[in-house]
Subunit: 302 residues, 2 copies
């Protein structure tokens, strides 16, 4: 299971009625946060989710609206008695940027580990969660992220019985490990079916609507994508500022064939993004124009 909360839907600056875009994902007792703008910690409090369990913070890029809340969040995590390491991943230069910001929070009660991302793509795992960072096209180096929780194949008890394995060893193979019994080694694939569909969420902001996003979003259960402008002259503004329109995002979702799209990172000039809903849904019917803190529980099929 993956719990997903879009903590805010705004871009550029936090507004009284619209928090900055940031995503919190909970899975198996671990928290993954993508971006942390000013007041993201307030939105987490409003949602009532824990600070303590945020193990991984993924930063898309270093514009203030995506990272300015980091010192405050890390201090709040310290106040929530976190002592375990926190991993922060983001573009090259991350450690310098974070350490500069931490001039006002020089002592945290937990260590930080940095993963600086380079090149077009970077894949790494945090326990079961597979994270893919993929390069976007913005006015500075920026990455989108996919979080993928794989699911093992189905266990075949008949196969295990045929091998003559005692029941006490079944759980070892079910976890994907090898089991040894009476001098012989048994491998997981002898008793497990092919991997089943896992859970995946893909997050892309701030960026032009490049092809790579379609490839990355394929297979996602939920695609969260910026749609900074909706208005008539949106395409022009989006080109100029290296963003995309809600219509662009809907096209990407359509091409990726995802079951659901949430738009986000609305321009402060866009007072009511819902006025474009009909137009967007004509392109991609499963588009959602969410309110702050929209939440969804992704569950394995069947």
């Amino acid at each position: 299971m993956m719990d997903i909360c879009l903590l805010g839907t705004g871009g550029m600056m936090p507004l009284p009625y619209r928090a900055l875009t940031s995503l919190l994902v909970r899975c198996k007792g671990k928290g993954f946060l993508i971006d942390c703008g000013e007041a993201t910690q307030i939105s987490i409090r409003r949602r009532g989710w824990s600070f303590h369990d945020i193990d991984t913070i993924l930063i898309t890029h270093f514009h203030a609206d995506h990272i300015s809340g980091l010192p405050g969040l890390l201090l709040a995590m310290g106040n929530a008695e976190r002592h375990e390491k926190v991993l922060i991943a983001g573009p090259r230069g991350l450690q310098h940027v974070v350490q500069s910001l931490l001039v006002i929070a020089p002592r945290l009660p937990f260590p930080l580990e940095f993963r600086e991302i380079d090149g077009q793509e970077d894949c790494f795992s945090i326990d079961d969660m597979e994270i893919t960072a993929f390069r976007l096209e913005h006015s500075m180096t920026c990455y989108g992220y996919s979080l993928h929780l794989p699911r093992a194949g189905q266990f075949d008890p008949e196969a295990a019985k045929k091998l003559g394995l005692p029941v006490q060893l079944w759980h070892v193979l079910q976890k994907g490990e090898n089991a040894e019994y009476e001098g012989r080694v048994y491998t997981s694939d002898q008793v497990m079916g092919p991997p089943r569909k896992g859970l995946k969420v893909t997050y892309a902001t701030d960026t032009r609507p490049v092809e790579r996003i379609i490839e990355q979003a394929k297979g996602a259960d939920l695609f969260i994508c910026e749609g900074m402008y909706g208005e008539k002259d949106g395409p022009e503004k989006a080109r100029e500022k290296k963003h995309m329109t809600m219509q662009d995002a809907a096209q990407l979702a359509k091409k990726a064939g995802v079951p659901e799209l949430w738009l986000t990172h609305f321009s402060p000039s866009m007072v009511n993004p819902l006025e474009y809903e009909e137009e967007i849904r004509a392109i991609f019917p499963a588009a959602v124009i969410p309110k702050d803190r929209r939440t969804k529980e992704l569950r394995f099929e069947d």
Copy 2:
């Protein structure tokens, strides 16, 4: 006239229902901000006051809850088309701290000027406004601030007539300048009475209740002071963390003889500071336990 808005009343971390302590003062088209924590810019928006006119930012100290919102505020000021210089004053090391924070806002459309404060006291003026920074006693170097708008004496038209000065020159003397007429120099004090009572607000947080605060608050029309704890074991916590209690603040206000005290910088653990109101008013009847964005207009007497 001085417009005063206490943008928040919280300490340590911003809460959904309580913004961090910060004060915005407007006077003659200029804005003076004391402290800028995470989400202070949201509180300014909520109040509806302009970002554009904030000319002076006074920082008490470098704990995150008093300065973490600075990059976001400066960016918002840039978005509000500010191009004129902004003065930032604060303890020694200010420029290094602010420039570190600005790693995520490297290009602002206005220049910054820094005034690093040292020693026990520092006085400077921004146009008519006289600012006094005074050293507090906290776990790091910290300053309180008084903002004083002086008021000239009353103009005496009879005296001006006696001097034989034409009416067209009166306004020169009224502004405190010298006037020349038929080869003679006339000075302001020849037609103006003694200076009248001006307007003054004094702001002190985070600190132990040291004597110096009483001296500084004397003559203030409004004294804004931290009262981090109200509970029974408050004095112990306050000593340990180099803060003060609401009761301490009330004693300071009483000794300074101010007409009004606003308490602020409430601990996140204090859910309802109003429960201590009766006790505090028994010490100092003109104590106010304000809500965020409490506003007051100070006007000259008569």
